[in-house]
Symmetry: C2
Subunit: 325 residues, 2 copies
């Protein structure tokens, strides 16, 4: 592959000069500039990289299976992955699968077909048994707790973290608890829903279907949730909200309508996002960025062959006490 | 490549059954479940995809060159790209280049080496002449105004949009104008900086170096900018802020310290983000999402061969009047 050194050698100029031409630096003579551009032009051979991959068996690419890139939870995980991939000089192939098992299988087939060196599965609709079938072809890491499988996982205990948040709320005296969630059928949101229902039942707290508000994915959905709450004849005295950005929308809109936070409505967020720090939202830090970063580090170690046994890494969570509960 | 239909055929079950097994649906008999999993296991042949690419000359992948994924501006463009790629069943290869020309060249070399079908360049450190050299190998679209080149571009007129915002501020009577910007050396931020300095000079408005605040990339940087402004002996009466999320941090922090917005400090945002709508931030909508979506649609047309001539698409911008100016 033509690189700066090769271009410099053929053009008969220094590497610095090539770099300056590429950077549009002013101190390069017209002749040298022309020589560099001509050389890039002359290096007009196609050494087909797919053939190179056939020989080396390494592609420098890792595929990432995630349902949607524009969902906040996934974009934070993606940040962590992308940061580590850049450090390792790896490319990430973004595979948005919209929770379609067929789409996810296609990505796993890329591993079998040696188009990629590994797969990170941020969230999946596939069963662990199906994923295990593909571990024969290369390393796979999931960002979900899949138990002790033939593939690695790095995960948050969504169930325990969510219960911990609820416990904190009842410890503060709240009993009528509502819940704002993103996609109803996401794998971690299903876990949180179970945690919610079970916790309420165990603690004999009132459960109202109307207090479960779904499809809260943006700041504006949070604001809409606030308006729904305001219209209720009986409303919860606290809400637990999946995502600080959604909680921010809910809080700002509630205050516009004269509600005091937390006196009239306590709000507990999730994810410890910058907007939560600004608005002093009490939140659960569940280390989403670290989950992505960790997933990449594990897969990179396994690609390099430094470790081959699957790793199961559970991340810690903690409540950050601020002023909205 | 093994797909659901192939698995169903070999396992002797219906496509619905395979889908149910993959989805962990309860209504599947143990036998059928075993048959499906066995089949996936038996389809244990490696039809090397790199060889397939050699024959078809099509990879189903487009590389995206962008400096950083976790910079808000780029992440919105990425949303637009990712949405269209999903519709077109294309994979995006995310290449974070940190504005390194050598890293960017590596991605363009992937095009020469037929590892990808096209390249979308969201922001680049390379000269247009260098990019033009690679148009011989496949379609390239930039998200910057590069003039009429051999490659396509879809772009915002950063210079005009920014001046339009400044004009709006002086139309409202503000004369002491400050400026919060992200990365000082980003290509669009350099354009905005020129627009700012030139506009102030032309209109004989006071310019103070201290009123140019850089490295404002997050909500918290916005809050820090508010604290810097509060400490100034003489501070601007209006600020133009690159990014509504940064403006949100600045506004929330300013209010905490008793500043009235816009009476004590007017704030004009950028990007028309959800948080800006919630906080009623006056902003410039510059269609970042549409820029990404458009870039993908153009490159997809060119890959399919529906159009081969380069396209230069200028996106409109508009001021959204709300309550912070």
């Amino acid at each position: 592959m033509a690189n700066i050194k090769e271009i410099a050698r053929i053009a008969g100029v220094s590497v610095t000069t090539v770099s300056r031409v590429l950077n549009n630096h002013p101190y390069v003579s017209k002749d040298k500039r022309a020589a560099v551009l001509d050389t890039i032009d002359q290096l007009n051979y196609t050494r087909n990289m797919n053939a190179v991959h056939l020989i080396t068996g390494r592609t420098g690419a890792v595929a990432v299976i995630l349902p949607f890139i524009n969902f906040f939870y996934f974009s934070i995980v993606m940040d962590g992955l992308a940061h580590e991939a850049l450090l390792a000089q790896y490319r990430l192939i973004l595979c948005q699968t919209n929770y379609s098992p067929e789409e996810e299988l296609k990505v796993l087939e890329m591993l079998r077909n040696k188009e990629i060196d590994g797969v990170v599965i941020v969230s999946t609709a596939l069963q662990p048994e199906v994923i295990e079938e593909y571990t024969a072809y290369g390393p796979i890491v999931t960002c979900q707790n899949s138990g002790e499988r033939r593939f690695s996982s790095v995960y948050i205990e969504h169930y325990a973290a969510f219960r911990h948040g609820l416990q904190y709320l009842i410890g503060k005296g709240y009993r009528k608890i509502g819940y704002c969630e993103g996609r109803q059928n996401g794998s971690s949101s299903s876990i949180r829903q179970s945690a919610f229902r079970e916790f309420l039942a165990e603690n004999k707290l009132p459960f109202q279907e109307a207090w479960m508000i779904y499809d809260c994915m943006t700041e504006e959905h949070g604001a809409a949730a606030a308006r729904s709450l305001l219209e209720m004849r009986e409303r919860p005295d606290a809400v637990i909200v999946s995502g600080d950005h959604v909680a921010a929308g809910l809080i700002i809109e509630s205050r516009k309508h004269g509600l005091r936070i937390p006196e009239d409505l306590a709000v507990m967020g999730f994810d410890n996002q910058p907007i939560g720090r600004l608005l002093e939202i009490t939140t659960i830090d569940n280390q989403l960025y670290e989950m992505g970063a960790s997933a990449f580090r594990i897969i990179h170690e396994q690609i390099r062959g430094d470790s081959t046994l699957p790793v199961y890494r559970k991340l810690a969570y903690r409540i950050i006490e601020r002023s909205t509960v």
